[in-house]
Amino acid sequence: MMRFLLLFSRQGKLRLQKWFTPITEREKKKIIRDMTTLVLARQPRSCNFLQWKDLKIIYKRYASLYFCLAVENQENELLALEVIHRYVELLDKYFGNVCELDIIFNFEKAYFILDEFLMGGEIQETSKQMVNRSIEASDMLQETLEEYMSKPAF
C-alpha cells in the first residue's frame, strides 16, 4: 500500500501532497521537511530508492519537479517508480506537455487526476484513456453547467 505522495520543486517548495493514511498535521510537516531534505541531498547518479523509518521512499525527478512516493516495506520499488511515471503521463495527457507551472496553477486538477488514478493508497485505474475519460466527464459537466448558469433567464 502507498502511504503518501509528495510533489516538490528543486527549491523544496511543496506542490502537491496526498496522504493515504491518517496522519496528524505536525507529523505531516515533519515528513515533508524530512523528505525534501533527504531527497534533495541525493547525488545525481544514486538509486531512486530510500529507506525512511519503516517505509520505502521512491523518488524521481522530472525537470524541476520531484515526485516522492512512500510505500510500505514489502512493496515492489520498481513498480512504485512506474506508478510515479504513469501519473506524470496522465498529467501530460491532460494538460498537453505538462510543466511545473500547470501543476502550480491548476493544482486542484492534478489532485482530481490523482484521485482517479489512485484510491485509498492502491492503484485504481491504470489506463490513460479511462482516467482521462472520467476527468473529462466531470469537466464537461463543468462547461455545460457554466453555460447554463450564465444564461440570463436563470
Binding site: 501532497q17 519503516d54 516495506n73 512506474e82 511515471h85 484521485d115 485509498g120 463543468q142 448558469m149
Partner: protein, 1136 residues
C-alpha cells in the same frame, strides 16, 4: 515516453513572466489564484511571503463569511485557501466552509469542496461528522459523478465510527451497472476492511462476486482485499488458487483489452498482485505450489523485454518462486534472473538484485558465492542505500568464520551513518551477531564496546539488558565466565581512565554495573581505585541522574575495604541531600551499608552469585492488610476502567446502554484500533521482506537451519549431485571429513588457476575469501548446532562449544585454507564470466560440484534419498525436522484410523468430556505425535499422544504460546517412553490474551534409543477461541449490573437465521448450540446472552432485531474478547 515528458517539463521553465497561463483555454480561469501565485514568486524574503499570505488569508476570511458570496466564488476561495495551507499557513476558518461547499454546491463546487475537506481535515477532526450526511446523500444520488465523488472521499477520509451508516449503501454499489462505481465501491470496502475489519466480515461472499466480475478493473480492485485476507489467513483461500492461476495465465497471455497495457506489457499491476497472492498461497504447501509452476514458468519466460516494468514483474516472480514449494527448474531460472539484476549497470536494478539475493541467500547461500565480487563492489559503493542493502545481505550469510570481517564492515558503516533509524537497526544486528558467533571473549567485549559507544542512547534497551544478563548468567564453564568478566572489567577500567565524558549514558550504566559486580575478579585492583573512577563520573556534568544512581549502586557494592569506605561515605554525604529522590535513596543505602560491614556482607556478599528473587506479582502478602481495611469500612478497590465507566455513567445520563439503533458507537477499545493503519510505525523492522514471515518470527534472528530444511531437499543443487556423495548417506556425520578432504584435494589440485590469472585484484580477493569463507563449510556448522537445543537463552552457551569445535576442525584438517582456495577459484571464474558473459552459465555448472559438496554435505545427501523414495518423505535422516500439523493433507485416511485407535489412550479423568478430532502433529521414523484438546468445565486440556514404534526413548516436549498460558500436568520434563507404546502428555491451557485462533508451538527433543544424541522436531497446534467459551448462568438482574461494569465493547449487525416465526429465538438457539452461549432471557425483540472465557472472564451479549438484522452489542472486562467472540458468532451464523 519519459524522455518526452522530461523534455516538455524542462522546455517551459520561464513561463512565470508570461501573463497567460498555460493550458488556460481548457481550464476555468482562476485569476485570483494566479495573481497570488505570481505575487509569491516575485517576493524575495520569507518575511514578505508571510505578510502577503496573512493579507490574503484575511481577505479570504472576510469573503467566506459574507452572506453574499455565491457558491461559485466560494469554490475559488477554497482553492486559494488550500494553496495557502500547502504553503504551511493555517486557514482553519475555512474548514467549515469547505464542508458547506461539499454539501450545497453543484457538482463542480462539490468536487472542490470534497477535495478541500480531504486536504484540510484529518480522521479525528470533529467537523468530519458534518460530512456524513452529505456523503450519504451523494451516495444515493442518481448522478454518477456525485456517487463517484462520494466514494472517493469515503476512501480518503471518513470517521471510523460512522462506517456502519454508509456500509449498506456502499455494498449495494457492488451491483451497480457502471463498472467504475463497482470498482470504487470495492476499493472503499477494502479501505473499510483495513480500518475496521470486523465491520465488513459479513460481506466476504460479495468479495468473491467482485473477483468474478466481468470487468477486469473491478476484479483487479478486489485483489487488494484478497491480498490482505490471504496475508492474514492463507488456509481459508486455498480453494481460490486455481482461479488466480487462470487469471494470471490469461493476463500473461495477453487476453485483456489493450486498455490495460502499460508500455505494451499486459496489466503489470495486476500481474504483480497475483504473483504476491500466489506466493502467499503456495508457501509451505506443495500441492498448491504445483498448480502454479506452469504459469510462473510462463511469466519468467514472457518477461524478457528490457523495461523497468518487466523487471518489476520478474523481481516479484523470483520472490514467488523462492517462497513457494521449490521446483528445481524454476529455481534455476530464477537464479539466472537474479544474476541479471545484480550484474546490471543500472543502479536501481542492482539494488533490487541485492534485495533478491538477501531474500534468497538463506535458502541457497551458493548464490551469494556466485556474486561475491559484485557484493564486494557494492560494499564500497558511493550510495549509502546500496551499502546498507549489502550489509543486510552480509548479515544473512554471517557465520562463525566470517563474523569478524562482517561486523567490522558494519561498524565502519555505523561510524559514518547519520541516520538514526539505520543506526538503531544496524547496532541491533551487530549485537546479535556478536552474541551468536563471537570467536573469543576479547573480541566480544570489544565489539560490544563499539556497539555501546556507537549506538549511544538511541539503541534498543534490550541490547544492554541482554548483555548484562549474559554476563551474569554466564555459560558452560565457570572458568570461561570468569575470563569474560575479567576482560570486561579491565576493558572498562581503561575506558574510564580515558575520557569517560565522551561515552553515552547507557554505556556508562553498563560499565557501572559490571564494575560493581565483577571488579573483585581483578586481583590487583583496589576497590578504592574503582571508586575513584566512579566518583569522577558523578562529578561529570554530562552524567544524567539515572547514570548517577547506577554509579551509587555500584559504589554500594564496592565499599567493603577500609580505603573504599571513607571515600564512599564522602560521596554519600554529598548526595544524601540531593533533590533527586532516587539519588537520595541510593545515597542513604550507600551510607548505611558502608558503615555496617556485617550488614554489607550479608546483603551484598562479595563475589556472591546472583540468585533470582522470587517475586509475588499477585501481592498476596497484602491480603491480610486489605481484608483488615475492608472490615474497617474502606471502599473496595475498583480498577481504573470501572471507575471511569461509573464516572461517565453518572455524568451522561442520556447514553442509554440499550440505545443500539444509534449509529454512533461508543466503543473505545475495539480491536479495530489496533489494526487501523494509523501513523508510520517506528518499529525497527528494517530488515527482510514483509512477505517473509517465517524469518521475522522472533526478532531478526538468522535462522538458516530451519529454512534450509524446507529447501535443501529438492533445491536444484540436489539434481546435479556428484555420485560420490551418495556414499555419505550410509555413513553419517563422523565420516564426513574424508569426503571433505577429498574435496579439498580436488580443490587444491586446481588452486594454481587463480595465480595464473593476474587480473584479479588481490585485495578484493582476500576480502572475498574472508567474507564468504564460512559459507562453504557453513552447513557443517549448522549440523553441529542442530544437536543442541536451540533456545535463545542458551545461545551463548552453545557458542563456546561451537567456536571451539570449529577451531578444532581448523587445526585438524586444512579445510579452511582449502575453502578459501575454493573461493579464490570461484572469484576467478566470476571475473572471467564478467568479461565474457556468454560463458557464464557453463562456468556455473562447473562450479556446482565443489561448492555443493562442501556446502551442503549431509543435507543434500538426504535429498537424494528422498527423491529416490517418496514414501520416506516424512522420515528425516538429519536430526532436526520441521513438520507442520496442517502440512500433510494427503494423509487424511491415516488420520481417521489414528483417531479411533488413539481415543482409548485418553486419560480416564478426561474421558467424560468431549474432545476434538485427534490430528497428527509431526512424525519421524519411530515417533508419531498427535494431539487433541478436551474441554472440561473449567479448563481446556491439550492432550499429546506420543506413539513410539521403535525402541525405548527419552524425550522432552516443550509447548509454548504467546497468548495462552500452558501448564504441564505431568511430573518431569524428561520422560522415558517405552518402545512400541503410546504415551500421553497433558497440558492445561488458560487464556492470557483473547484471540480468534490460538496457536501453540511445540518442540520435541528425543533420543532413540535412550542415551543416543538428541534430535528435535517442531510442531504447531491450532485451536479456536470457542474451545474456551463456557455458558455463564446469570439472572437478568445480575446481567444488568454486570453490563454496566464492563468497559470493553463492540457492536455489529449480524444476519438473522431465516425462520418464519421466531427468528430471534432460532438465532440465539443456534448460538447456544454452536458456541455454548447461555441465553439469559428473551424479551420481545431483544435477547440477553452470557458466556465466560473459562471460569472467570465473563462476556455479555445484547441482541436486538432491527430492520431484519440482528444488532448485537458485546461487553466484557477483558479487552479484545468482544471482538474475537463476535467473529465466532458471525461464523456460526453464516454456516448453514
Amino acid at each position: 515516453m519519459s524522455d518526452v515528458v522530461e523534455k516538455t517539463l524542462t522546455a517551459l521553465p520561464s513561463l512565470l513572466s508570461l501573463d497567460s497561463q498555460p493550458g488556460s483555454a481548457k481550464l476555468s480561469s482562476t485569476a485570483k489564484l494566479g495573481n497570488l501565485i505570481r505575487g509569491i514568486t516575485e517576493l524575495t524574503s520569507k518575511h514578505e511571503e508571510e505578510k502577503l499570505i496573512q493579507h490574503e488569508l484575511a481577505s479570504i476570511k472576510e469573503q467566506v463569511s459574507s452572506p453574499n458570496t455565491t457558491m461559485r466564488q466560494m469554490r475559488e476561495l477554497m482553492v486559494r485557501a488550500v494553496y495557502c495551507e500547502m504553503l504551511g499557513y493555517e486557514a482553519s476558518f475555512s474548514y467549515i466552509h469547505a464542508i458547506k461547499l461539499a454539501q450545497q454546491g453543484n457538482v463542480l463546487e462539490k468536487r472542490v469542496g470534497y477535495l478541500a475537506v480531504s486536504l484540510f481535515l484529518n480522521e479525528s477532526h470533529e467537523l468530519l461528522l458534518l460530512l456524513v450526511n452529505t456523503v450519504l446523500k451523494d451516495l444515493q444520488s442518481t448522478n454518477l459523478i456525485e456517487v463517484c465523488m462520494a466514494l472517493t472521499v469515503v476512501c480518503q477520509i471518513f470517521p471510523k465510527d460512522m462506517i456502519p451508516v454508509i456500509l449498506p449503501i456502499v455494498e449495494e454499489k457492488l451491483n451497480h451497472p457502471k463498472e467504475i462505481i463497482r470498482r470504487k465501491a470495492v476499493l472503499a470496502l477494502h479501505k473499510f476492511y483495513l480500518i475496521a475489519p470486523n465491520q465488513v466480515q459479513h460481506i466476504h461472499n460479495k468479495f468473491r462476486k467482485a473477483l468474478c466480475d466481468k470487468d477486469p478493473g473491478v476484479m483487479t480492485a478486489s485483489l487488494h482485499i484478497y491480498l490482505q485476507l490471504i496475508q492474514e489467513n492463507a488456509e481459508a483461500y486455498k480453494d481460490l488458487t486455481a482461479s488466480f492461476v487462470t487469471i494470471l495465465k490469461q493476463v500473461v497471455g495477453g487476453k485483456l483489452p489493450m486498455d490495460f497495457n502499460y508500455h505494451s506489457v499486459p496489466a503489470p499491476w495486476l500481474q504483480i498482485q497475483l504473483l504476491r497472492i500466489l506466493s502467499l498461497l503456495g508457501k509451505n504447501d506443495q500441492r498448491t505450489s504445483e498448480v502454479m509452476y506452469e504459469v510462473l514458468d510462463e511469466s519468467l519466460r514472457r518477461a524478457e523485454m528490457n523495461h523497468n516494468i518487466t523487471y518489476a514483474i520478474l523481481y516479484e516472480c523470483v520472490k514467488c518462486v523462492y517462497t513457494i514449494h521449490p521446483k528445481s527448474e524454476l529455481l534455476e531460472k530464477a537464479a539466472k534472473c537474479i544474476g541479471n539484476f545484480v550484474l546490471s549497470p543500472k543502479i536501481n536494478l542492482k539494488y533490487l538484485g541485492l534485495k533478491a539475493l538477501t531474500y534468497v541467500v538463506q535458502q541457497d547461500p551458493k548464490l551469494a558465492l556466485q556474486h561475491q565480487m559484485t557484493i564486494i563492489e557494492c560494499l564500497d559503493h558511493s550510495d549509502v542505500i546500496i551499502k546498507r542493502e549489502t550489509l543486510e545481505l552480509l548479515f544473512r550469510i554471517t557465520n562463525a568464520q566470517n563474523v569478524t570481517v562482517i561486523v567490522e564492515k558494519m561498524l565502519d558503516f555505523l561510524r559514518l551513518s547519520k541516520d538514526d533509524h539505520m543506526t538503531i537497526d544496524i547496532v541491533g544486528k551487530v549485537a546479535e551477531l556478536a552474541e551468536k558467533y563471537a570467536p573469543d571473549n576479547e573480541w566480544f567485549i570489544q565489539t560490544m564496546n563499539a556497539v555501546f559507544s556507537l549506538g549511544g542512547d538511541m539503541m534498543q534497551p534490550e541490547i544492554p539488558n541482554g548483555f548484562l544478563k549474559l554476563l551474569s548468567e554466564g555459560f558452560d564453564s565457570e572458568e570461561e565466565d570468569r575470563k569474560l568478566r575479567l576482560f570486561a572489567v579491565s576493558s572498562y577500567i581503561s575506558l574510564l581512565q580515558g575520557e569517560p565524558s565522551k561515552l553515552p549514558q547507557r554505556f556508562l550504566q553498563v560499565i557501572c554495573w559490571v564494575l560493581g559486580e565483577y571488579s573483585f575478579l581483578k586481583e590487583d585492583l583496589e576497590p578504592s581505585v574503582v571508586l575513584g573512577l566512579l566518583t569522577k563520573l558523578l562529578d561529570m556534568k554530562s552524567s544524567s541522574s539515572e547514570t548517577k544512581s547506577w554509579v551509587l549502586v555500584a559504589m554500594t557494592k564496592l565499599c567493603w575495604s577500609e580505603a573504599a569506605v571513607s571515600e564512599a561515605q564522602q560521596v554519600a554525604e554529598t548526595y544524601s541531600s540531593s533533590f533527586d529522590t532516587t539519588l537520595r535513596q541510593r545515597a542513604q543505602e550507600l551510607q548505611h551499608l558502608s558503615r555496617d560491614s556485617q550488614l554489607h556482607s550479608r546483603v551484598l556478599p562479595p563475589g556472591g552469585r546472583l540468585e533470582p528473587d522470587e517475586v509475588d506479582s499477585s501481592l498476596s502478602f497484602l491480603d491480610g492488610f486489605v481484608s483488615e481495611a475492608l472490615s474497617a469500612g474502606a471502599a473496595p478497590y475498583k480498577p481504573l476502567h470501572q471507575r471511569q465507566e461509573e464516572l461517565s455513567r453518572s455524568k451522561v445520563l442520556s447514553l442509554e446502554p440499550y440505545g443500539l439503533s444509534l449509529p454512533i458507537s461508543t466503543s473505545s477499545c475495539s480491536i479495530t484500533d489496533r489494526q487501523s493503519p494509523t501513523l508510520l510505525s517506528t518499529s525497527s523492522g528494517l530488515s527482510g521482506d514483509g512477505t517473509d514471515f517465517s524469518h521475522r518470527g522472533s526478532s531478526t534472528t538468522l535462522r538458516l537451519d530451519g529454512v534450509k530444511r524446507v529447501w535443501g531437499r529438492e533445491g536444484y543443487l540436489a539434481q546435479k549431485k556428484p555420485v560420490e556423495e551418495v556414499a555419505q548417506v550410509e555413513v553419517p556425520s563422523p565420516l564426513r571429513s574424508p569426503s571433505q578432504q577429498g574435496d579439498a584435494n580436488s580443490c587444491r589440485s586446481k588452486t594454481p588457476t587463480p595465480t595464473a590469472n593476474p587480473e584479479c585484484d588481490q585485495e578484493k580477493q582476500q576480502l572475498a575469501s574472508s567474507l564468504f569463507g564460512g559459507l562453504s563449510s557453513q552447513s557443517s556448522v549448522c549440523l553441529m548446532e542442530k544437536s543442541e537445543p536451540d533456545i535463545q537463552r542458551f545461545r551463548r552457551k552453545a557458542k563456546g562449544q561451537r567456536s571451539s569445535s570449529t577451531t578444532n576442525e581448523q587445526r585438524a584438517n586444512p579445510t579452511v585454507s582449502s575453502a578459501s582456495a575454493v573461493d579464490n577459484l570461484l572469484c576467478n571464474n566470476l571475473l572471467e564470466a564478467d568479461t565474457e558473459p556468454i560463458n557464464s552459465s557453463a562456468k556455473q555448472t562447473f562450479q556446482h560440484p565443489h561448492s555443493l559438496s562442501v556446502a551442503n554435505g549431509a543435507c543434500d545427501a538426504e535429498a537424494i534419498l528422498t527423491d529416490g523414495d517418496p514414501k520416506e518423505r516424512n522420515q528425516p535422516l538429519s536430526s532436526e525436522d520441521f513438520v507442520e500439523a496442517d502440512d500433510s493433507p494427503p494423509r487424511e485416511d491415516q488420520e481417521r484410523s489414528k483417531d479411533s485407535c488413539l481415543t482409548p489412550h485418553l486419560p480416564a479423568e478426561l474421558s467424560g468430556f468431549s474432545h476434538s478430532e485427534i490430528i497428527p502433529l509431526c512424525s519421524s521414523q519411530s515417533l508419531d505425535l498427535s494431539a487433541c484438546h478436551v474441554q472440561t468445565d473449567n479448563s481446556v486440556v491439550l492432550v499429546v499422544f506420543i506413539t513410539n514404534t521403535s525402541e525405548d526413548a527419552n524425550l522432552q516436549i516443550q509447548v509454548l504460546s504467546e497468548e495462552l498460558e500452558v501448564f504441564c500436568v505431568c511430573e518431569s520434563p524428561v520422560e522415558e517412553v517405552r518402545g512400541r507404546s503410546v504415551s500421553v502428555r497433558q497440558y492445561s491451557l488458560t487464556v492470557k490474551m483473547p484471540l480468534v485462533h490460538f496457536e501453540l508451538v511445540g518442540m520435541l527433543s528425543y533420543s532413540i534409543p535412550a542415551g543416543m544424541p538428541q534430535a528435535m522436531m517442531q510442531f504447531s497446534y491450532k485451536l479456536p477461541l470457542t474451545s474456551f467459551i463456557r455458558p455463564l448462568t446469570v439472572s437478568t438482574e445480575e446481567y444488568g449490573s454486570m453490563w454496566l461494569a464492563f468497559s470493553h465493547d463492540t457492536k455489529q449487525n449480524l444476519t438473522l437465521i431465516k425462520e418464519e416465526r421466531e427468528p430471534l429465538t432460532a438465532t440465539l438457539n443456534a448460538l447456544n448450540k454452536k458456541l455454548s452461549l447461555h441465553v439469559v432471557e428473551i424479551i420481545g425483540v431483544e435477547g440477553l446472552v452470557a458466556c465466560s472465557l473459562l471460569q472467570d472472564q465473563p462476556c455479555l451479549m445484547h441482541c436486538r432485531v432491527h430492520a431484519g438484522r440482528l444488532a448485537v452489542w458485546l461487553r466484557s472486562p477483558v479487552p479484545d474478547l468482544p471482538d474475537c467472540l463476535l467473529y465466532h458468532c458471525q461464523r456460526a451464523l453464516q454456516e448453514p
